[in-house]
């Protein structure tokens, strides 16, 4: 290494930093091992498994959206096909007594996802931007509709099922109990996350970022942006296939919903709400959205509407997602100015909460009168009972909604001012750039 390099290039990470970095992964592995000891109920194990699957799926989606700037409306195609092939594979392996244990079966799903990404990707990635988004939607519709036509293979509306416990066993694990499935999912999640993180730090990973930022200029440094997009698409399909395979193993069934628009929309929601700008964003999004969809569906019948509203709110007010919001505060934290903005948050929180409560009251009341008009007007939403026919409730909803909105708008401008002051101080201290 020349002197110039050592003075101009970013320094190699110090041993302490390296230690911290690898320590983080080891800690994650240990956490995954210990988690079932802390929450051992069947329900929480299922939830953890679903979160793990969702993490792989969302991270694979972010290879497209966050890393390469490709907005796909059809990512479930590769997830679903991976799932279907794995169900068939389990049946074939079981029938022929092949010496293939369940833990390696997700790889079949990954390869299926990869194969279809290789086949469909070249056409799909010819264009970027809006055209790519529409093409991904069209290809997804094509595959989903074809799946319903090819009934023998895809099992029509009912789908196809398999018994995961009939395979060749190692260490006498039957993979019948959920705890064993949890460990299978956890191991694959860790592997996939490490692999996808490593991918971001390769020449291809960097060129994906370059294509996202400026596909035109990429051509003038020797790269074909179409090839870069295509390769990103193939990797994304591979990991989506693994996620689909794990889902199929978890449920022991694959049906047309795996391939459908709702599945594609959900992964988009999870990834975007988590934040596409950081590697950890989709992980946070996957956890948040899985818990939210499980939790909200118990609290209210129209949880999907809330889901959509949350998504719209994130797109409008926090385009960086949850992770983006958190990361915004890092320079303030470093400069010790966080305490200057927190009070304004508290002030803004009260009317904003009032507005949200008003909105929920209004929605739930409307739902009562449109969905179940004949029934008892004493309804329960979010664990709270109230009388939807009571005019006082209507008035309260209106006051909270309108009043909350007007006050909240005012307080958020204060937050803006406090924010500007704090960041300018942080900038002076040279923390924020």
């Amino acid at each position: 290494m020349s002197d110039l390099t050592s003075s101009a290039a970013p320094p190699y990470p110090a041993t302490a930093e390296k230690f911290k970095f690898y320590g983080l992964w080891v800690a994650a592995a240990i956490a995954l091992l210990v988690l079932p000891k802390l929450f051992s109920s069947g329900g929480s194990l299922t939830t953890f498994s679903l979160i793990g699957i969702s993490i792989i799926f969302s991270l694979s989606y972010n290879i497209l959206l966050g890393q390469t700037g490709l907005l796909s409306f059809g990512h479930a195609v590769y997830y679903g096909l991976g799932g279907f092939l794995v169900i068939h594979a389990i049946n074939i392996i079981g029938m022929n007594k092949l010496p293939i244990p369940l833990p390696v079966v997700p790889l079949i799903g990954g390869l299926t996802g990869l194969l279809f990404a290789v086949l469909l990707g070249w056409v799909s990635t010819q264009r970027s931007g809006t055209a790519f988004a529409m093409i991904s939607l069209g290809v997804a519709e094509l595959v989903a509709s074809s799946a319903l036509i090819l009934r023998t293979f895809f099992g029509g509306e009912a789908g196809i099922s398999a018994n995961r416990t009939k395979l060749f066993r190692v260490f006498d694990w039957s993979f019948g109990p959920q705890i064993q499935i949890y460990y299978l999912v956890a191991a694959w999640t860790l592997l996939a996350v490490i692999a996808m993180y490593a991918l971001t730090r390769t020449p291809l990973g960097r060129m994906c970022n370059a294509v996202r930022d400026n596909p035109e200029r990429v051509q003038f440094v020797g790269y074909d942006p179409h090839v870069v997009r295509y390769l990103a698409f193939c990797f994304s399909g591979f990991f989506a296939g693994i996620a689909g395979a794990l889902a199929a193993i978890n449920f022991e069934i694959a049906n047309s919903a795996y391939l459908g628009a709702v599945q594609s929309g959900t992964v988009l929601f999870a990834t975007y709400i988590g934040g596409v700008g950081f590697f950890i964003g989709p992980i946070i999004g996957a956890i948040f959205v899985t818990l939210l969809s499980l939790g909200l569906s118990d609290l209210t019948p129209v949880w999907q509407l809330y889901f959509g509203l949350i998504f719209i709110a994130v797109v409008m007010f926090a385009p960086g997602g949850i992770t983006g919001l958190l990361m915004m505060h890092r320079p303030l934290l470093k400069a010790g100015r966080l305490s200057k903005v927190l009070p304004s948050y508290l002030i803004a929180f009260v009317p904003t909460l009032a507005m949200i409560v008003g909105l929920i009251l209004a929605i739930e009341t409307t739902v009562h009168f449109t969905v179940n008009p004949g029934e008892d007007s004493h309804i329960k939403a979010f664990g709270v009972r109230f009388d939807a026919a009571n005019p006082y409730i209507w008035a309260m909803a209106a006051i909270l909604l309108i009043g909350g909105f007007l006050v909240a708008r005012k307080t958020w401008t204060w937050v803006g001012h406090a924010w500007d002051d704090a960041t300018s101080v942080a900038r002076e201290k040279g923390v924020a750039s």
């Binding site: 290494m1 020349s2 110039l4 390099t5 003075s7 101009a8 290039a9 970013p10 190699y12 490593a198 991918l199 730090r201 390769t202 020449p203 291809l204 990973g205 960097r206 060129m207 970022n209 370059a210 996202r212 930022d213 400026n214 035109e216 200029r217 990429v218 051509q219 003038f220 440094v221 020797g222 790269y223 074909d224 090839v227 870069v228 390769l231 990797f235 750039s433």
Partner: protein, 249 residues
Amino acid sequence: MSTAIELRGVEKSFGITSVIRNVNLAVAQGERHALIGPNGAGKSTLFNLISGYMLPTTGSILLRDKVISGLPPYQINRRGLSRSFQVTNVFANMSVWENLRCAVLWAAGYRYAFWKNIDNLPEVRDRTAQILGDIHLIARRDVPAGLLTYAEQRALEIGITIAGGADVILLDEPTAGMSHAETERAVALIRRLTEGRTLLIVEHDMSVVFGLADRISVLVYGQIIASGTPEEIRGNPKVREAYLGEEAA
């Protein structure tokens, strides 16, 4: 002396408007060649044609005696021709370091590698550091390119253009919009970085053109009306009438 770039009867028209008309031009290996002309003469279009951004309507373009017209930009770049843009065209969300490194990767042979850690490529690191030093942006290494000052972005633009080690360099108005002092620094930079390479430069600042170029071609209404050494161009009455006359007056 062999030719680096040669244009033979190149024409470009958009619909019925012809922008480039029968242009013949040869730039010798190692020559610094300036392309001047009034606004709208088609200078940037000519750059777009040479670099593969647009296809010529007729005619052919040769790089070191091999036809390149019809090839996509990335293949032309791989054959050793690199260009900059008039409007700064960098990777805005990536740091200065990443910008330069992306421009180094292909030429260093890493292409679409997804099995190598990008931070563990010593020759890429050395080359990137060298360019970073050359364009005097070491202090701004980790700043996202979109947040640089205008002059810094122009320097980065040049850095990206030369980073791959192409030996034919096309610079499109590298000093446009710069102050006098910034222009001087930029010219020194260009002179140093293109040492031993072939340079084709579009420039409006006549002091830059006459200070830098070995030869000059004048493009007016899509046609080259004169080509020669700076002295010949200065003395050429056609050029004075068509172009320099207005500017000098």
